[in-house]
């Protein structure tokens, strides 16, 4: 596990070096919202913890062209040969990439669009020294310095970042870069202290990784009525969620020329499951909210062995009806077997 120092004044230089071989994305504030953009330049903001938008759209764009058609012929869109590097994601979002890999790269079909963007991608995450009040990564199996999904984990020690390699590819970058300095014992111990102190600032842990069985038993519980009564069905939670990945497929254009696209969609919407006959197997917000929670905390773990939530807290912050996912989960855990 190689550790190196990146002095803050050399961040731009490090990114410029990275840009020779990668398309670099980083958090940028624009119109009061922070999201990840390509070539962030001097607008790069590494001080913001949870960005407003998650970085999932770097690998899974909100609108993606699946194919174009013209005069009876269909064609696949071309992908850039240059791999992606994300600089300044947080451990929760990096962990979300590894969860979405299970969906898009899993059996029996590999998603070629996700795969093309993930190929050769590098993820540089910054550990969270001061997790915010809506953070609950520690409930979902993650943590403020979790390494899952990151190639390099950075710890902000003030004047510099301590960089820790998490994968072989991260190791390679840290070993070969001429811009980095060797990490001294003081810097390493400063980073260790921050890592050690961060969890104390989080709320008490409620383990939600094993809540699936209880949720299954609560299928008919009145609890769903209670929580869904507030839900507006706006899907802000799903659009901001780093692990929500449901999509719609639509055609745009005329019969002779146009494109087939996929666009983000959400199980919160009535039309999501409404059939051409008019029948809807999830007719009300109750069934739709239940689907969202069951998918993340029961179905996904059943299939992939891990909950589809990283505890970033975006849904908690964004919900216009103040529905707090943590309350739903806490209530469930309390109803579960002692």
């Amino acid at each position: 596990m190689t550790q190196q120092i990146l002095k803050k004044e050399r961040v731009a230089q490090f990114i410029a070096e990275l840009e020779k071989s990668h398309i670099v994305y980083g958090p940028v504030k624009s119109d009061s919202l922070v999201s990840f953009v390509a070539n962030p330049g001097d607008k790069l903001r590494l001080d913001i913890q949870t960005t407003d938008r998650s970085p999932k759209d770097i690998f899974f764009p909100q609108t993606e062209v699946l194919l174009t058609y013209s005069g009876g012929k269909t064609e696949e869109p071309a992908h850039s040969d240059k791999p992606v590097a994300i600089f300044g994601t947080r451990p929760c979002d990096a962990r979300a990439f590894s969860l979405l890999d299970k969906v898009f790269l899993g059996e029996p079909y590999t998603d070629p669009y996700w795969q093309a963007r993930r190929n050769g991608a590098l993820v540089f995450s910054i550990g969270c020294n001061r997790p915010s009040s809506t953070c609950f990564c520690h409930w979902t199996g993650g943590g403020p310095f979790d390494q899952q999904g990151s190639d390099v984990l950075l710890t902000d020690i003030g004047p510099a970042f301590v960089m820790t390699a998490c994968t072989d590819r991260g190791e390679e970058i840290l070993t070969n870069s001429k811009i980095l300095n060797e990490a001294g014992p003081d810097e390493i111990s400063a980073a260790e202290k921050l890592k050690h102190d961060a969890p104390a600032q989080l709320t008490e842990t409620v383990d939600v990784t094993q809540v699936g069985g209880t949720l299954e038993k609560m299928w008919e519980d009145e609890f769903w009525e209670v929580f869904s009564a507030k839900c507006l069905g706006c899907a802000a939670c799903a659009y901001l969620c780093p692990t929500c990945h449901c999509f719609d497929v639509q055609d745009e254009g005329q019969a002779d020329c146009g494109r087939r696209i996929r666009i983000w969609d959400s199980c919160s919407f009535d039309l999501f499951t409404k059939e051409a006959s008019g029948h809807n197997p999830r007719p009300s917000r109750k069934e739709r909210l239940r689907q969202r929670i069951m998918h993340k905390f029961s179905y996904f773990p059943g299939k992939f062995g891990t909950v589809a939530c990283v505890g970033c807290g975006r849904c908690v912050r964004a919900c216009p009806a103040n529905i707090d996912l943590r309350t739903i989960l806490e209530t469930t855990v309390k109803k579960g077997p002692e």
Partner: protein, 278 residues
């Protein structure tokens, strides 16, 4: 291979199926020879059929793998894509992805009596299965073959000519029924669950496949259990709104199971474990 890319197909023949003109069978042929060579399926599987500019629609394959060179779909005009398909003419191009999903467990039918129960225009994949089982290469592998098929009225039964031929065969027991008496109808009258109870197919060394509108399935299943069929020997095919058809887009699940990749065929034993199946 990109599973989102459709194969080009040409509409060879369009056959109106129902008196009310909402059902048409489309016989498609492959534009590319290599697509034809690769296309290998088992009855019960489905495809995503597409019209450029309109979108895709998941449809069960109505032809049998034993019918070489063509793929058939019987399409109910309901939404955007199926309406566009209904306006197509012979010679037009459509897109096809598939075959997708699992299939009827034809391997398990060996040396068994097979009962096929269908209702309305859901008979498509059951036609595929029946034609497959009647094929000279497959018929000897199973024992008795019984088909019970019902529709609201005679004009809504699919595949009229074929049904007439099947009625003449001695290696297939065909029972046709309509909901209410009609002039000129000399077959059975009554809803599929009731008729199934009357015919009372034996559960002895038998497997049953039932497919139709949800309400029909819901009332036929208890009849089959009453007749002595074990839930593991009862199969049905389910439908949900679908997009990708390959287990990614996240909408067709019933509990933890995705209809597109874990189904569309489920045993009743499987369904008993799932919430909200019907």
């Amino acid at each position: 291979m990109n599973p989102y890319l459709p194969m080009p197909m040409r509409v060879k023949r369009i056959i109106p199926e129902s008196d009310d003109k909402t059902l048409r069978t489309f016989e498609l042929v492959f534009v590319n020879e290599q697509d034809k060579q690769k296309f290998d399926f088992v009855p019960g599987q489905f495809c995503e059929l597409s019209v450029v500019g309109k979108g895709e629609s998941p449809l069960g394959i109505a032809s049998s793998p034993t019918e070489k060179d063509i793929v058939r779909f019987t399409i109910n005009r309901a939404g955007l894509v199926t309406s566009a398909l209904h306006y197509m003419a012979e010679g037009d191009l459509v897109g096809l992805r598939g075959p997708l999903g699992n299939s009827y467990p034809v391997e398990q039918f060996k040396n068994q009596n097979v009962v096929v129960i269908g209702g309305g225009f859901a008979f498509t994949t059951l036609r595929s299965l029946t034609v497959y089982l009647l094929d000279p290469n497959h018929r000897a592998n199973i024992k008795d073959l019984t088909v019970i098929y019902g529709a609201r009225e005679p004009g809504l039964l699919l595949y009229h000519d074929e049904l007439a031929e099947w009625q003449k065969r001695d290696d297939l027991k065909l029972h046709l029924t309509i909901d209410h008496p009609a002039d000129g109808w000399d077959n059975m009258v009554g809803f599929v669950p009731t008729v199934t109870k009357e015919i009372a197919p034996s559960p002895d060394q038998a497997q049953v496949v039932v497919c139709g509108p949800p309400i029909m399935i819901k009332f036929t299943l208890p009849v089959l259990l009453e007749l002595g069929f074990a839930p593991e020997r009862i199969y049905t095919s389910l439908e949900r709104r679908m997009k990708c058809g390959i287990g990614k887009c996240g909408r067709c699940n019933i509990g933890p199971k995705y209809v597109c990749v874990d189904g569309p065929v489920f045993s009743y034993a499987d369904l008993q474990k799932l919430p909200e199946a019907f």
